[in-house]
Symmetry: D2
Subunit: 341 residues, 4 copies
């Protein structure tokens, strides 16, 4: 049994790590931290976990410095991770960071979009934690930067097209996200009457996940990424509609074959050649479902992807990364069926 700790375990991604790790057979959670809730039992803050034997002695601690484990999940806000991760790295622990702090090789991009001065990368092996593209690097990494929720769904939706040079550089992602992506703290944006019966576009050309998507796609081929997110009146899930333009003369069947080949060894990517993916199919799971693959009269190719933003878009992918780093079966703790309907 490996021991893991969760820094910042009061939010949705922390809670989701606890939900999924409850059934993980090779890992124990030995520390959870929160400045605000220090001293409280995990069931007090996350009552839906009540009854889980594994967590019956688990209390929040406020003392991050004393945390020791084989692997640390930092579910901390952007900008806060870089204050604590270097110390864990120095002390020889593995770290999976769920913030944006270590996702960029080019720190100027980070600083431009996050408006935070970066304190520099620790000297160790760092991987961008999208296993479908970077599995070998993740295996060797001490620090894994878990991808953003939108980038996960967007990159996986078009990676085969970019790699094979099938489409033009110009790619438009129109994404619709559930409200849990906005976090556990109430704001005007998450106030029920503001969300309900609405579809709210936001940061329509300036979202910080835009450069994250683009820099990853550029590793595969040509890509100029335009991205617009929308807040939808649902709790979980990101549905991404990728509008791309064919640069080659290919038909639907050939495109589907490209996807099936690209993802043939990937358990967590499911290619649907007939159905359009639905968010409820992936709800609670680590799957990224991809479908659509239709071409219109103006050479536009539409690809749809669906993920659960808290699982494949955050905590599930973090556990997938942990499984890779520890050499476990990649599916361990993650094999749940979508809660449909």
């Amino acid at each position: 049994m490996k021991e893991v700790a969760i820094i910042g375990a009061t939010g949705y991604t922390g809670a989701e790590l606890l939900r999924l790790l409850a059934n993980h057979e090779k890992v124990n959670v030995t520390y959870i931290t929160s400045r605000k809730e220090a001293g409280k039992h995990v069931f007090k803050i996350h009552p839906h976990l009540k009854g889980i034997e594994k967590y019956k002695d688990l209390y929040f601690t406020g003392d991050v410095d004393k945390v020791e484990a084989d692997l640390i999940f930092t579910a901390t806000p952007h900008g806060a991770s870089m204050d604590i991760v270097p110390d864990f790295i120095e002390r020889g622990m593995k770290v999976i960071d769920l913030s944006g702090d270590y996702r960029f090789e080019d720190l100027s991009l980070y600083e431009k979009y996050y408006k935070i001065k970066h304190k520099g990368l620790p000297e160790t092996k760092i991987a961008y934690g999208l296993p479908e593209l970077h599995r070998e690097e993740i295996k060797k990494a001490q620090l894994v930067a878990n991808p953003g929720c939108f980038p996960t769904g967007a990159i996986l939706a078009v990676a085969p097209l970019v790699k094979e040079g099938i489409i033009e550089e110009r790619i438009i992602f129109d994404s619709k996200t559930g409200v849990s992506g906005a976090g556990v703290n109430p704001t005007e944006i998450t106030h029920f009457p503001n969300v309900n019966e609405n579809i709210n576009p936001y940061k329509i050309t300036t979202h910080r996940h835009t450069p994250e998507i683009e820099k990853e796609l550029k590793k595969l081929g040509k890509a100029k990424v335009s991205f617009t997110p929308h807040l939808a009146p649902i709790t979980r899930g990101i549905l991404t509609t990728a509008h791309t333009f064919l640069a080659k003369d290919v038909d639907r069947e050939e495109i589907i074959k490209v996807y099936e080949k690209f993802y043939k060894d990937e358990f967590f990517v499911r290619i649907f050649s007939e159905e359009i993916p639905k968010l409820t199919w992936v709800r609670g799971t680590n799957f990224c479902d991809i479908g659509g693959f239709e071409i219109d009269e103006h050479n536009r190719l539409v690809v749809i992807s669906a993920i659960d933003n808290l699982v494949k878009g955050a905590s599930g992918q973090a556990i997938q990364n942990m499984n890779i780093m520890f050499g476990f079966d990649e599916k361990e703790g993650l094999f749940e069926v979508g809660l449909n309907p």
Copy 2:
């Protein structure tokens, strides 16, 4: 007082005509028809209308042939309107058809997308009922083809750009619609558990509103329209995200000025230079709110429009057209404030 009749008054657009006409001071509803509900009182089928004095003697009739009025609203299914409209036209009545049957000058486009053999256009003046673009024709028309719900929001969102030649030919509309657009009859698509907690793309490259949008924009300038609709877990409203690409070197302020000028005399189009439009702002109203106007690093210009699909997208616009045809104040019966929140 003018007399109007509604053919097919059991569905959502029929009910919405009745809702809005309840407060219209220059029009009486003298006939409502339904084969299935013939003989029943309007309050039996539409209980929310109960108490409206104006409708206290209004019963459904099944006998369309006997209907006479100054103006007929045909809220009939695609393909059914062309069976009944020609007779009303011949008998000299004005008609506003809410189906797709008379929206296309080029009937081959209709036949290709609706998969229905068209029976031909009546010999009279026909107008495409989007007042902001065709007011003068509507004034003179005997038959008005009321626009589709998606086309209304999409065309108004980019008309000024196309007219001024500001953008490339390629335009992508990514639209999100409420479920009332699917009509009053339950189907798998409208089954609550299939809609809730989902955003369902459908007919992602083949929706029949695509050629309707394109042929109207082509009257204004260059346009190759790509369109993808999504069903959202809301009842009313269409939020359209228009992804366009600048062909000229203009900035945000100039673009907003183009819009303000283009729509300066249009009461029902509101331009928001700061806020992003919300569906609840237009809910129950005939407004089309337009905002966004942001330009990203790859020359993409994003414009957002919001309408109530049953009002500006259907029955409200029909009443606006009726007001124009009768020479009434265009706002009569339509001046309601959005039901926000």
Copy 3:
């Protein structure tokens, strides 16, 4: 034309007053106040009002002392109204207070449930503003205490039964409310992921509307009121399920007759003898729809009422009260049809 002012016009009830008064033909809004938003135009805070000619010169003021009008709506928090109402009363203005501050004749009840020390009632005629029960008092009052949202739906649902002594003293109200009832400020309770896919009971035996319902019903007959509210994932509306127990041997038809007689002159109460009322039927309107009237095997009689919490449950009823106080047609500004669906 009468002039009215709204104290505290940034919240939902203030906005709803503005929405409804936009179409009121005998009243102008001359002042709206807000400490926080002083100086801003009304369209900036309530963008859905944009385009309303009547409000084009309306700005928020922070200076409550300078407000003068024929009638003042105080849409202020509980406890804050009593700081400002006495001054308006002294200066001879009419006041309709939407808080709980003047709803209780017995101030000790107020103090017990609101946990606020009451500063005393002004020496003038005060009426509890439920027109269906207190119309004559409202006519003569200078100060009207607008009822709570739950009490409006609950009291109207059973008033005829209590009056006629048809039921036992014990009455159980199980109410389900939309989230707009919680106000415009975001809290954990209104955070979308906490509301969505949930039905949250709260203050299950201690809600402060309980004594308000009971003291009003006791004016009509015997009543011991038990009340439990639930927050439902909807924005507007209160559906109240009244569980009562027959004390007399009456059947369904006799009960319906009692209701029809009791409410025969009430435009805003609609009795449904066949259909079960739906919230969308009353949405945006001042109607209280009542139906159900079924008796089970254990002598329980179930009555259902539906209101829009922001209209008949707050601002609409306030305008109804204003119409009565000014001697206008009671329906003026309120005759809208429910936004269904």
Copy 4:
């Protein structure tokens, strides 16, 4: 490994059995039946199951007669189960019936509420499958009648009170259910615009789960059950508000102790002494969460229970029953954490 079959596996309860059994380590699903979908692969009808190795050769069969297994789940409509269950029983198989056909010892009650002529009970041991009350009978039974969804939440909410004689005979259950309880087939009742922004009471005094709740409670003590269900705009979950009346002088703490004692060995019943249970806490799980326990001024005691109607209210409980019948660990295949938020 035991082999099980699911008769009628296209609906929600069938799909939910498949979802949960996917992770059950001691059971294989060898047959799934459907007249309509015979010949199709399970992934075609339930795409969210795609990728589950265990089901990769599972096709629907239309031939119920040929089905053989250690245990049969009949997820068939009321009235249809009694046509097929007797044959399985005669052939010596164990059966868990998810319909109402075998829930009543007194068939006249069934006939009265289901309006179906009953064909008689097979001569074998039959148990009502609520393990918390009937575990020993379930162990010995060949046929288990799986409880209705509402009865599960209602009975568990008050069983300790009835058993201990703490409350009056009169009990009122006001329940709010998700729409998945209405099944997979679209109807007017499940049409999204009819459900959304509404809380719809239905069969307010005549629901057939009423006698099922009452006859079970009567086995424990005195009970006259009044029951009113409401359809809420959510997909999964039943929240039951039990309004009871104290017959003894007990306080909140004593009541909680009674519950904790009554359910002390029950893994799937969680007693919350502080928090009010939430549907999202139990979503996807077999838990029944119970809380509230507040007493009002008129001696009313309110208890709240929350279940997932498709899990503890149907398929999860069926698997719990199966585990008991086979002597497995009762939690096998059911130990999932609630999908919150």
